[in-house]
């Protein structure tokens, strides 16, 4: 286990437990939880709340043949084999989206040496992998919504703090930040936003139209 200092908020864990987060955020939550026992146990608690809510929601009778139908379902549904990838730096939920690990990512340049791969875009939220060479800054940007950034390799620093492997930064509209990858190994992050990033200079704004940030 990495030494994780930055964790998920209760709000995100509860939303994930309730199943109400957009897919993009769910992927970041599931990936962080895979790396972080602290958040896995906190999630367990929010799921326990869900269990209690379900048990007190009131029963509705099942149809008369429901049990027989379920036994038939069990007999007739073959076990779906789950694809497993070789262990790498990406936890299983992320590997499922990439179709493998770090070396299988289909990177696209977005300028300034930064590369990305968009993994999913649904319900107004987008999740992407970012590859930022050591010492390179992601252009200064604010957010119109929520942005989650989870470090998978290397580290970055911004006005708020330092974020290493397993750390997650939860940024809202108030945070205007310039993440800079630490010198050395490139920083690979999983980042989800529920609104397009707004860059604070003219040029990246033009580039934004082409690179779909």
């Amino acid at each position: 286990m990495a030494d994780i200092k930055h964790h998920l908020t209760d709000q995100l864990l509860m939303g994930y437990a309730a199943g109400t987060l957009p897919e993009a955020f769910s992927l970041v939550v599931a990936t962080h939880v895979s790396l972080c026992d602290e958040c896995r146990s906190r999630l367990g608690e929010f799921e326990a709340v869900g269990g209690e809510v379900m048990m007190s929601a009131g029963s509705v009778s099942m149809s008369n043949d429901a049990f027989a139908a379920t036994m038939a379902l069990i007999a007739n549904t073959p076990e779906a084999p789950q694809k497993r990838y070789a262990k790498g730096i990406f936890p299983a939920p992320l590997q499922d989206y990439v179709g493998g690990d770090k070396d299988d990512v289909r990177w696209r340049p977005v300028g300034g040496g930064v590369r990305q791969m968009i993994l999913a875009s649904d319900g107004g939220a987008t999740v992407r992998l970012l590859h930022i060479p050591g010492g390179v800054a992601v252009p200064d940007h604010g957010h119109r919504g929520l942005e989650l950034t989870l470090v998978l390799q290397g580290a970055f620093k911004d006005e708020a703090d330092r974020f290493g492997v397993g750390d997650i930064e939860v940024a809202n509209e108030e945070l205007n930040h310039t993440p800079i990858a630490e010198e050395g190994e490139a920083c690979i992050c999983l980042a989800a936003t529920d609104a397009p990033l707004k860059f604070n200079s003219f040029l990246p704004r033009i580039a934004q139209r082409f690179v779909k940030i």
């Binding site: 509860m14 895979s34 709340v49 269990g51 379900m54 048990m55």
Partner: protein, 183 residues
Amino acid sequence: MTEQMTPARAEWLDEIYAVRDTQDQAAFARLFAHFAPRVKGFLMRSGASADIAEECAQEVMATIWRKAALFDPARASVATWIFTIARNRQIDMIRRARRPEPEDLPWGPDAEPDQEEVLVLQEETNKLGEAIAALPEKQRELIQKAYFGDLSHSEIAEQTGLPLGTIKSRIRLALDRLRHTMR
């Protein structure tokens, strides 16, 4: 469904074990009678039609049969576990969205859960249920709304006022033990 005939909640463990170890249909029928109508009720409260909720609840019960061996009583009560299965089927079937799940923890060779840990976790889950029931009505309604999907993510306040902080440490203990046995 007669309420007074149902055993206390921690006892559902025996039914899960019987399904897991001997594919015991009678034990499964007891689980079905207790949980399927509650899963169906929950799905309908979350906005599903009666037909869809019925179909989804059957699928949830079939998943319980198939995945009984994956249930870890040191980390979740039976009700919690069934809730997570119902929620996943709901996202998959009703909302037709993909549901990324955390990586499973691999089992160590001696990872048979400690009975004491199991009992404490089940007990604390029951206490959590009682604590939620004892909350002021408005607060309880807000929590229910969050789980029925009536609140968007941004509407779920940072301070939910939930009486949390106990089960977490039990699960944490179980995870630590699991990781220890894997070494």
